[in-house]
Symmetry: C2
């Protein structure tokens, strides 16, 4: 079982809401993690995607980006979200996916150096949900902290 399948299975096993959303890992390559969810279990009263589902998928994509990087490095850390800014730009009437990558100005080398030096590191992550017709449905920028386990 590879790291991606293991990550998806742990999300679904540990987080009941991830199961309710029918979340899956779509891709992890080129320093970008993509999580996907079908529309049906994630609708709101209008029949488009519920803002809470979008926020959850975006935040989990950002969190997963850090977690998977740490697993690649063989570092055992707890990863927490500290704060986030979300923009809702257009409604989502289709199955959707959340793409996460480091925000502009952030580097993995700085993150890893901080972790090695202090056992703690922060990173800002940029996440977005693209629409099939082009443009983004929503964006989220979030700051995460990783703390090495004793």
């Amino acid at each position: 079982m590879n790291a991606i399948t293991a990550f998806e299975q742990s999300l679904l096993a540990d987080i009941p809401l991830a199961r309710a959303m029918q979340l899956r890992v779509d891709a992890y390559r080129d320093d970008e993690l993509t999580l996907a969810a079908p529309l049906a279990p994630n609708v709101n009263d209008k029949g488009c995607a519920f803002g809470g589902s979008l926020a959850s998928l975006l935040t989990l994509a950002g969190w997963g980006l850090i977690v998977l990087r740490l697993r690649t490095l063989g570092r055992d850390c707890e990863v927490y979200v500290q704060d986030s800014q979300m923009r809702y730009l257009a409604p989502v009437w289709e199955d959707f996916s959340a793409h996460a990558r480091l925000a502009d100005g952030e580097t993995w080398s700085a993150f890893e150096a901080a972790l090695a030096a202090r056992g703690k590191a922060r990173a800002r992550v940029h996440c977005h949900v693209p629409l099939a017709a082009g443009g983004d449905a929503c964006t989220l920028e979030a700051r995460f902290v990783a703390i090495a386990r004793p």
Copy 2:
């Protein structure tokens, strides 16, 4: 059936994730709306409250505050969240509730005047999840727009 019960039933009927979270309306008085959820269906991999559940409950509390006000006024509007800033301050190891009220500097009279004049109005809402031991687990400030239905 009063407006609060009707609101809770519509949330649970229309939003599958609200059912998965076992959301309920806790109180609506003095211009504050409180939504509550049990911890068990809302845990993360660490066993405390999942950030997506917290973000969902906070956003729904803010949205509901506007929706219930509009119902009291007899105004038929669509209400959308536009953007939000969330801060995660402490983990939640207990059942939790999200409290929503207008943000500092906002007034219902300005909101209602804009809606009457232009058929559209915006309001910023401040939401927080208090901890039983004191202090907040997280806060969310969000901007909503209400648009009168033709």
